[in-house]
């Protein structure tokens, strides 16, 4: 029986790490992985989602609606940012670093000036449950479910909807798509907005479990970037398996030797994986297929 409990514990910890990586990385996988924009303001879209969902929840909205609200607002702001700042930079991906770094500074300091140094939270819903000797938070299971649901939802959007088809076509061969009559500028806006909305979703989902301060995005950024890059350009063949592998590594190292080992181990794993698979996991899978 204890073996089952141990297995559950490990699955729980790995699933928790996996959920964190998937939710942090999805939005960035769309914006960076698909569109090639190095978005150093990713943490600030997460911040936006967190703040909006926390404040609407405090105003009385039920939590799921508040989280969706946060995602929506982040998505709209993403579309505006894309139109004004990112659109001219598609041919110059490395310049997006400076532009998004600038956006990040504006957003963080602006939030500090307008909303103060901290925002009250909403508290984590659903309480706890016990398995064996330990008690766990139910909400963390909700997060794991949300991560899987997000992946499923994205897959459905990109493979089963017209928008998904157009988006993939536009990003891969924009001139062809345009000559076929696709409104490429709208597609770019919507795709970027989708990426921003996913970041906002992550922010809204994690907001009940974290301190809400203007610099909270920085807790997600590094791990999001390494997951996306290790995954490679494709979200489903790349980001998801990367999050799974890195999540397991991090959970195992953390449970064996503590948080420092977990963090350093994650980064070292990144270095090793890229050395072995220089195009990331999805690059390797796709090359294997062809």
């Amino acid at each position: 029986m204890t073996l089952l409990f141990e297995a559950f514990t490990f699955l729980y910890q790995a699933g928790d790490a996996f959920a964190f990586l998937v939710l942090s990385a999805c939005g960035l996988a769309v914006i960076f992985g698909m569109m090639g924009v190095i978005n150093l303001a990713h943490g600030e879209f997460i911040l936006c989602g967190a703040y909006v969902s926390a404040s609407t929840a405090r105003m009385g909205l039920p939590l799921p609606l508040a989280i969706l609200c946060g995602a929506l607002v982040a998505g709209v702001i993403g579309m505006i940012v894309e139109r004004v700042i990112i659109r001219p930079l598609y041919q110059r991906p490395l310049d997006t670093i400076v532009a998004t770094w600038g956006i990040s500074m504006i957003a963080t300091q602006g939030t500090l000036i307008l909303l103060g140094s901290t925002m009250p939270g909403t508290g984590t819903p659903f309480g706890s449950f016990t398995v064996g000797a330990y008690s766990y938070s139910i909400y963390r299971l909700v997060l794991m479910g949300a991560a899987l649901a997000t992946l499923l939802g994205l897959w459905l959007i990109f493979t089963r909807t017209r928008f998904g088809l157009l988006a993939r076509a536009t990003i891969q061969v924009p001139h062809m798509a345009e000559s076929l009559g696709v409104n490429t500028s709208l597609i770019y806006s919507l795709t970027f907005g989708l990426g921003a909305a996913l970041a906002g979703l992550a922010g809204g989902l994690y907001a009940p479990t974290m301190t809400l301060v203007p610099t909270m995005g920085s807790a997600f950024v590094v791990e999001a970037f390494v997951t996306v890059v290790v995954g490679g350009a494709d979200i489903f063949l790349g980001t998801a398996p990367a999050a799974a592998i890195l999540g397991v590594i991090k959970a195992a190292l953390t449970s064996w030797q503590g948080q420092l080992f977990g963090q350093i181990g994650l980064l070292v794993a990144v270095i090793i994986v890229i050395r072995i698979l220089p195009r990331g996991i999805s690059g390797w899978i796709l090359r294997e297929r062809t």
Binding site: L89, G102, I106, Q109, S218, V229, L260, I271
Partner: protein, 359 residues
């Protein structure tokens, strides 16, 4: 006779297709700037001199990144890793062996050497492993973050090398400053006039040296690799060796920055290797103009001075204004502020000339 012509060959490389600025006017301007910079301490107070030394310290790292990224085409997020390694190496060496008999200068060379060694190992791993593009950026970022995370927890007494405690997040201090041995009494290079001249001298040497390097055969191959790596390979160059070489030199320069900073403030901390610190050189180089040495140098100094002034006079809006400036720079002057200003100036001049000759 042969030696004289070899020297002339070298000096002729000061100008070339890879660097901006040629001809009498440019070099006259250059000498004027160096003369003004040398005369500066006579007119400025102690604070400004020390503050300018602080700005100069960072330019070596920026020039190194310009070489790696602007000329070599490899986005290295890890300049701060070598900055930190060299800084800590200098601290450890000088705390253990003191500053007598000019040892600090040996420590400077040794620390830069250690950073270069690390760069050689990492560069071998990266370029001989065919890692490129954004993956290179992520790996170098991971390296600098691993170093930062590791060093930040070395606070306990067991973390010591010789008599130098690493001291974790709080940082290592009380290492002696760079000291020049002198018969009358050692000259300790506090952030004052003497250090200013030493740093200025180093900067001029490194700048001229880099100009010669990028205009030489080595530099031409680098640019060829940047433009089209496969074509360069097909032309018979082992691009991995060239990339390793430029990574070594660029990272050694970052190490030089690290030692100078550590000596300037008698202090080095793991946050110098963190995420924010790692992004800063990229911002300076991108804003200044990464494809040219002069543009990077001037741009870095401009951005540093501008950001400091904003922080002093801008109160809480400083960071917002900085962010806006960065976004505007990228949108309006894609080649970088310095090159943008230069091309604007040249367009005005040529228009003026045309206007003068039109009837």
């Amino acid at each position: 006779m042969a030696r004289y012509s070899k020297l002339r060959n070298w000096l002729s490389l000061l100008e070339g297709p890879q660097t901006w600025g040629r001809g009498r006017v440019f070099w006259a301007g250059f000498l004027l700037v160096v003369a003004a910079a040398s005369a500066y301490p006579l007119f400025a107070d102690g604070y400004d001199v020390g503050n300018n030394v602080y700005f100069f310290n960072w330019t070596f790292m920026a020039l190194g990144l310009c070489l790696i990224w602007g000329y070599g085409g490899a986005l290295s997020f890890g300049q701060t890793a070598f900055f930190g390694v060299a800084g800590y190496a200098y601290g450890i060496l000088t705390i253990n062996f003191g500053d007598a008999y000019g040892f600090t200068l040996i420590a400077l060379l040794a620390a830069v050497g250690i950073a270069a060694l690390l760069a050689a190992v990492l560069g071998y791993f990266l370029f001989f492993g065919r890692i490129s593009g954004v993956f290179l950026g992520i790996v170098t970022l991971s390296v600098t973050l691993v170093l930062e995370r590791f060093m930040a927890q070395t606070a306990g007494p067991e973390w010591r090398i010789g008599s130098a405690r690493l001291n974790g997040f709080n940082g290592m201090g009380s290492m002696p400053s760079l000291t020049i041995p002198w018969p009358g009494g050692d000259i300790v290079l506090f952030p004052d006039v003497a250090l200013y001249y030493v740093t200025l001298g180093l900067l001029v040497l490194v700048y001229l040296g880099l100009r010669i390097l990028v205009n030489s055969r080595f530099g031409n191959v680098l640019v060829a690799i940047r433009e089209n790596p496969e074509r360069a390979e097909m032309l018979g160059y082992d691009i991995r060796k060239y990339q390793l070489g430029m990574f070594l030199i660029g990272s050694a320069l970052a190490g030089l920055s690290g030692v100078l900073y550590t000596s300037w403030g008698n202090y080095i901390t793991p946050s110098s290797m963190g995420m924010t610190a790692a992004a800063l050189p990229i911002v300076w180089v991108a804003v200044g103009g990464r494809s040219d040495l002069t543009a990077t140098l001037l741009g870095t100094l401009l951005v540093l001075a501008c950001f400091q002034a904003l922080t002093i006079y801008g109160s809480q809006y400083a960071l917002v204004v900085m962010g806006i400036l960065l976004v505007l720079t990228v949108l309006l002057v894609p080649k970088g502020v310095v090159l943008g200003l230069a091309s604007l100036a040249s367009r005005l001049f040529s228009r003026g000339k045309q206007g003068a000759t039109s009837p």
